[in-house]
Symmetry: C3
Subunit: 467 residues, 3 copies
């Protein structure tokens, strides 16, 4: 009777056949599709020597590995350690947070290489991949990690894998519409990654609404050490965000700019987060949830404009505002979303990715619309917005309009896709936990005997050691 | 009565208006100053295309992002994860350690960009920033993180922010004196960062001396898991230290040399730390405090000389000595400083940054004084010490003298500045905790209900659950 | 009587003179040998300016620090944080896991610089070192970290240091035989690092077999938080493994290929690990041990072939298989090894490095044997396998044969060397713990008073606080 965990398992969370089946089926599909479609790009193919001669290159410097790869590794750390550990704040869901994030990302990057490859790297029947594709796959998966934050603790690993399959697909479609059809700039993905990911996840969470979730309320909080694990995630996201926003920018000035703008925005964001975290709490104490999350909003909000001439002080202003918006969101909006709109947003992705993502889209639209040849230089202006080929007559204000359209399209895709996927995930056979078992690793994981109970018994030799 | 934490709060630690006010005020000041002064440097400005044509460059390789940025990211990790987690060893001050370090560094880098910018990157009324400025800002903030280690657990976040403001200012002045007026070499900052930071912090700690600090003695230790969190910080500092010492060295040979020397010194330091940690303890057991800290002394101690021809075996010798000095310091000197000199050095920064910093300055002076054209080559000699322009007649031994002067100047700035800032921080309205509440997150943070107590009650169903 | 830890210390684990003596002796030896033999390579020497003029280079780009250094840093993190934290899963051996790994690696890299230097970088009486040597030293030490995993918790730090000395030596000999005499390709070290390291460690563990180890069985498991620390190690190994396998590949296409192949193999491996972890457990729950370890087998298994034209789908297949093999190994083989072969493999290195290492060697042999000029291009073929000089007549199938020979040689060296070193470590004066004290930090470390016991006493004011 001491451990009420296993009581009342009204739902069947038995994963033994469902989870292996999904994993194996999808991995076999990946192998077949990779076999048919995926090949090394010219930079990675052993024929490079001949390519080099044809291109009259004398040195391998033009094909250097280190002209993107360090950015890839930073982004990679953000996806797996950053997002993974950021979600370990729950006292009894650390395995699920970091483990399911690992699982979804490992599957997602494979599927993203295919989906994004068909749209962007498809040549004579083959997808040719290189380091830049790896970065883009991580980006795509980032949006799934965000959506996962909205349903964390309430979903089975099978549901997570199904969501990943659909969300990666829709991400690639949305990205294609924005980047290729609307010719929109979104280097750090304020729209494609954050806005889309957050509202997709929130829509799914809305459809999976659990009216009796207060039954697992005691497990929704953190404990001292879980908060320290979570801030590892925060810091890696925060530190490497300049790499994220600059990872796929053009070599040269754009990449420097993207890093500097992001750095400035993030720095400002920390101060307003701390200010409002203290101000909004009666006793004036800081809330770890805000420090873990709202400090990152500044990175989200310059995701579109970072490679533009936002300028350092412009970035500080964006970060300043977003630290406030995000913290206020955690204090007032999250409870409102749950009680009125029936959206149970476990990690508060609406505050960290939703609102800052939309702000990022708007800031990007304004910055683009306000661009002039004076600020960018004649050639810099064309290069920054890629006003070449069919777009050579596009003006800055028209570009601003298309940027704004990108926000709307991303939102529509998120709501539509989220509704569809939510409906699929609501089917009763995916093995999600009963309300009283949410936020509890014990459902899907072999959890080791508690250290605390060991110690307890050690110090109570009089009490029998049976649990 | 079970939780004595909230008892006897003689001091007013209420942060609700003070902390937000300071954060917002200073961030607004940053925005205004950035708006007036800070612009993108040529590498990051969209006019780069024109610059490139004027400079007759055909490729963006000459403006490559990856010719400093990986070093920047490593240094960035050291400041936020390295220093932040190194200080989480205290059993109940993990939030404060990593959180206030985050806060001070996020503010400090902005202020450092301005202060260092005015001294070093000021052109026609504007500060032009690039990736190298970001590295230097992190360096500057590193010295504040060090000083923070001396007052960890005994100061309010408002005090920390005030100290950051002043210390960054004084750091920039000291750095200007050393690098520009004395023309001293100090790539890894043995003098500017470590010596200055440590003795500044120790002077502040001396002035804030708390005679009755033994009242919070039970919280000054670590627990098992907090020691594991702390060693995350140690390892990131240790692993990335070669990047730290080489981050702003000249491209080419100097950078390689700085990394290799640092790597060697750190490796040797680990072995003598382990040796002396075991030797100085009666039972011969290792002390985690030494492993967490003294293993890093080797990196501090080659901060000045790493880019010189210290040679690998020279580096091993320096690391060998510093592991011993630092470990002995933790065992004998820290208690002495507290009991006799009334300096309560929470993290032992005197052993990790103070003494090794001075040793680093001295090793740098000797290595410079001993430099010959034979060892460096004719051009290498000039390049290594930048003996050009007004300094082209300076000899190696004169350089050694100036290097030694740099140590003295850094110490004087640290003592003077520390005394001034200590006096300011001693004013009674900054909200620092009473002696019995030091080293306790509960004062400034919303701390989650203990996991352990949950478990405890879970296993004691007979006992009423009221805390 | 409450704490049985200190009871029955039949063995003398007193380290006070033994450990310091070994550390100091060996570090002094390193200083002397470095002094006699080690000098900066031309890239790091201050004479570079003259070298540059002789080579007619106009820019430092040809000597760029960042054309290997980012790979070095990633590998460095894998050795110290990756391996160190991966082994912190034990509930009471976190200090030993991360601390002794730190110690052995810090010593090992110095000795490896010498050993590998004599074999590969020896010119006119001096070992000339650069960044690539640092990477190779980390690689060599990686094999010791692997072997350490097999004896974790059962060996004294003195034993670990002795094993490091011998294993590094034998590693360098084995590496020389494979790379120079057999002219084998093994960029990521499936054979030299993983196969050799694992079977060396397993042989040592066999010889140090403890029949009564079940006396410390209660300490062989994990606790909730220790599993989270361990997965930090897992993730850093997983994320940076593409850097590991590509770190010393030729610039240009080979490096891209190595990273992409490794990335694919690792991604597939996660899905089959999850599938089989769930499938092989009666309740269908996931086992953290599998997620922590078997997900990495895909990186091991492409260690030889990653820089070859394995192709992305080939890599997926390898990862697919290895996730299964490794997970099945943890479930069925580890207990079998212990009960029948008397090999107590604490971390299951046989499943993570042993079998996948051999598979990696075989995959490499097959991929090499199947190589054609059609797939690689004429010049690419020669370059990929370095069929120049004395090897210009070697064919793909002959190369495949030599690759296979490399596996056999590595295994023989591991068994022979492991037997020798195991016999030395069995001598009774190295201070290893008694069976009932294995897997317990308290033997070699000052362990802080338990947090849990504090809390316990705090909540039990009636009970006297004496432990």
């Amino acid at each position: 009777m001491e451990r009420p965990r296993h009581q009342g398992m009204a739902k069947n969370t038995y994963m033994r056949w469902r989870l292996p089946l999904v994993c194996l089926l999808w991995e076999v599909a990946m192998i077949v599709l990779f076999g048919v479609f995926v090949r090394f790009g010219p930079e990675a193919d052993a024929h490079w020597e001949e390519e080099k001669q044809q291109m009259n290159l004398t040195s391998d410097i033009e094909n250097d590995f280190y002209f993107r790869y360090p950015s890839f590794q930073d982004v990679h750390v953000m996806i797996f350690v950053g997002f993974g550990f950021l979600m370990t704040f729950l006292k009894r869901y650390g395995f699920g947070a970091v483990g399911f994030n690992f699982l979804l990302a490992a599957f997602g990057i494979q599927w993203a290489l295919l989906m994004q490859g068909w749209f962007h790297s498809f040549k004579s029947g083959k997808i040719l991949i290189g380091v830049e594709n790896l970065i883009n796959a991580d980006f795509c998966v980032g949006s799934v990690c965000i959506a996962f934050g909205a349903i964390l603790g309430k979903s089975s690993p099978v549901q997570v894998l199904i969501m990943t399959l659909f969300q990666v697909t829709l991400f690639a479609v949305n990205e294609y519409i924005l980047l290729n059809l609307l010719h929109v700039k979104d280097a750090g993905g304020s729209m494609t990654i954050h806005t889309f990911g957050a509202y997709f996840g929130l829509t799914v969470a809305r459809i999976l609404y659990r009216p009796n979730l207060e039954q697992s309320k005691d497990k929704q909080g953190s404990v001292y050490h879980s908060d320290l694990f979570a801030i590892i995630g925060t810091l890696y996201l925060w530190m490497y965000w300049p790499s994220f926003n600059s990872a796929i920018s053009e070599h040269g000035d754009a990449q420097h700019r993207a890093a500097i703008n992001t750095y400035c925005s993030l720095a400002a964001c920390v101060l307003t987060t701390v200010a409002f975290s203290s101000m909004l709490q009666k006793k004036g104490k800081l809330d770890m949830v805000h420090i873990q999350n709202a400090t990152l909003a500044g990175g989200v909000a310059v995701g579109t404009s970072a490679e533009m001439m936002l300028t350092p002080y412009g970035s500080l202003i964006v970060g300043f505002i977003c630290g406030i918006v995000s913290t206020v969101g955690y204090v007032y909006l999250t409870p409102f979303l749950e009680s009125r709109l029936h959206i149970q947003d476990t990690c508060g992705v609406h505050n960290l990715h939703g609102m800052p993502g939309i702000i990022g889209g708007i800031v990007g639209a304004i910055t683009a619309a306000a661009a002039t040849e004076d600020v960018y230089g004649k050639e810099g202006f064309i290069k920054a917005f890629d006003f070449t080929g069919p777009y050579q007559t596009r003006t800055a204000s028209v570009q601003g309009g298309f940027q704004a359209a990108g926000i709307v399209v991303s939102l529509l895709m998120a709501f539509g896709g989220g509704a569809l996927v939510g409906a699929i995930l609501k089917l009763p056979f995916w093995g999600d936990a009963a309300d009283e078992n949410c936020f509890e690793d014990d459902i899907y994981w072999e959890v080791p005997e508690d250290e605390e109970s060991d110690v307890y018994h050690m110090h109570n030799p009089d009490k029998p050691a049976s649990p």
